[in-house]
Symmetry: C2
Subunit: 344 residues, 2 copies
């Protein structure tokens, strides 16, 4: 996209991009926490500091490696209406910019995030690769899923596998939640040991060249209690229903409601305490949001998770999560790992 085409509709003369994922999106620069992108009528430039002398080579757009004073001098040349990322820039950083630069600083929201919503084929390919690697990691740790093994051990093995195989890392610390801990949606893997008859939830993703994946499976260690088997069935149904409902033109809210309704049929909707899903890309959680508040309208090229869950305090939990690409007519599953009920 030409700088002009981005700036003109916003009535801006320039835009300062500070959110790391947005900086990486616009530049490809792999150290976006230490860089910004400045878009002016003349073009888009990466700004970074002398810690990154190779920035020019590592960035798709021209890079300026500047010391503090040089950076300030450059910013001082800005004129007119200059946009900043209001959801990211801290209040005090804006105050400093306002003091330094006699331009009109204009809050913007979601400008680059909006460009990021629909993935290019190259982006989808990267997410697909990250997902494939995460599935290899899951297959690799399956033999560890047996009574007596610590949750932490499994999570570490996932991470080590991903990194050994070239990932920048796990997309997030892998979740391994067994037995009662399965009732905590965000349980970190702990020192708890797996036990026979428990369900164990594994939520894992890879980060590869900046792009993320995200998938969850819940396995049974032998025969779990009837309530847990029912919960599994309900979650699987909610997932199927949501996947069938997902299509361009729907809002995130509508699809979220479909999953909740499927759980309601089993009297389990009140145990589904989080959103149905989220976009995945340069951030592991990004737009669009599939949630009761999600007003975003789904479009082809979006990549989202669908992850209904049921969390029964004191008993355990089930979550199944697929990673999908919105197509012209519906969805393509990027996650391919089997999700049928499995007693290991």
């Amino acid at each position: 996209m030409l700088p002009k085409d981005l700036l003109e509709p916003l009535g801006l003369d320039a835009l300062l991009v500070t959110r790391p994922e947005n900086v990486r999106y616009l530049s490809g620069f792999p150290h976006p926490e230490d860089a910004q992108v400045l878009i002016t009528g003349e073009g888009a430039f990466l700004l970074t500091d002398p810690r990154y002398p190779e920035a020019e080579r590592e960035s798709r757009i021209p890079a300026k490696v500047l010391r503090r004073e040089e950076r300030e001098a450059l910013l001082k040349t800005l004129k007119g209406r200059v946009g900043f990322e209001a959801e990211h820039l801290p209040y005090a950083a804006l105050e400093r910019l306002r003091e330094l630069v006699p331009a009109e600083w204009v809050p913007t929201k979601g400008v680059v995030e909006k460009l990021r919503l629909r993935k290019t084929p190259e982006e989808v390919e990267r997410i697909r690769k990250a997902q494939a690697l995460a599935e290899e990691a899951l297959a690799h740790v399956l033999p560890l899923l047996r009574p007596g093994v610590e949750e932490r051990e499994i999570a570490l093995e996932v991470e080590f596998f991903l990194k050994r195989r070239g990932a920048e890392g796990a997309a997030f610390p892998p979740i391994v939640a067994s037995g009662e801990r399965g009732a905590l949606p965000h349980a970190r893997a702990s020192e708890k040991r797996l036990k026979a008859g428990e369900l164990v939830t594994l939520d894992l993703g890879a980060r590869l060249e900046g792009y993320h994946s995200d998938m969850t499976r819940t396995f049974a260690l032998g025969r779990p209690k009837e309530e847990l088997r029912r919960a599994y069935k309900a979650v699987a149904e909610a997932l199927e229903a949501a996947l069938a409902a997902l299509a361009p033109g729907k809002t995130g809210k509508e699809v979220d409601a479909v999953a909740r309704k499927a759980l309601e049929a089993h009297g389990l909707d009140r145990y589904f305490v989080h959103s149905l899903g989220h976009g995945v890309g340069l951030a592991v959680h990004e737009g669009p949001s599939l949630s009761p508040y999600g007003e975003d309208v789904l479009e082809p090229g979006m990549v989202v998770t669908v992850e209904p869950g049921v969390y029964l305090p004191g008993l355990g939990g089930v979550r199944l999560e697929e990673l999908v690409l919105l197509t012209e007519s519906g969805v393509e599953l990027l996650s391919r790992f089997p999700r049928d009920f499995q007693e290991l």
Copy 2:
């Protein structure tokens, strides 16, 4: 510290703490990215959401597990002057708070950061443990430092070792920079293989119970070029000089200047392209700053790095970094790994 003693000098009726390290400092809650601390005349409370039903147990201060509407209802009860963390809170988040809550929102800077500058004995103990673990990791990978081994392999082994031994993770992705890559202060470990005659710089730390460590060593693989040996000697002298100069009452700037002067004596000061050091604690980079801009006055109980370096483009680099505790009279080294010139 009593809420009153914190709020009164600032002329505040309440303070909303959002920066994760500050939230963890005040509460001990291990998921501070998803929580805030609200300090009012009645006390300090952790605010989080239903993803963390165990917050009450995991926080040292009373925790409120609130859904979005409940959180908003609570904030709406705030009256008078309410402080926010201006260096952390994004501009748009402040705008939302201002719309929601009819109080006077007052920017504050560094309130909790200031409390964090001087470490308690318990905090020093945690940093000491993190440092000791990182040194074990360094000893563990020393045998890998030989020609033909990939930088990445060494960095991965550091990370795996730390995690296997109970660290939350590495304090930052371990830096392994060999040969010419040693001239990049922030080189990520790459696929480059170590070669005979090179210097290799390892910069590594552990994160343990929220606290970090940070240390750098540069090793020689056999006999390096004369210029590199001279650089090593100069950096070692700069480090010694800075350590001798470090004492309560000095500013960060003064100590930084001592190191630069020592390098100047070797004509190498212009190759020292970053700050001399930084505080370490719940963040791996925090106050005080030892830099040409560092106005902070050093005090007993502060924990800082001292890390002079020389980066010779196309040739290689040397950095030596110690982690030290400011005492009443000078410093205590928390890093104990030998730093004399070693040809492996």
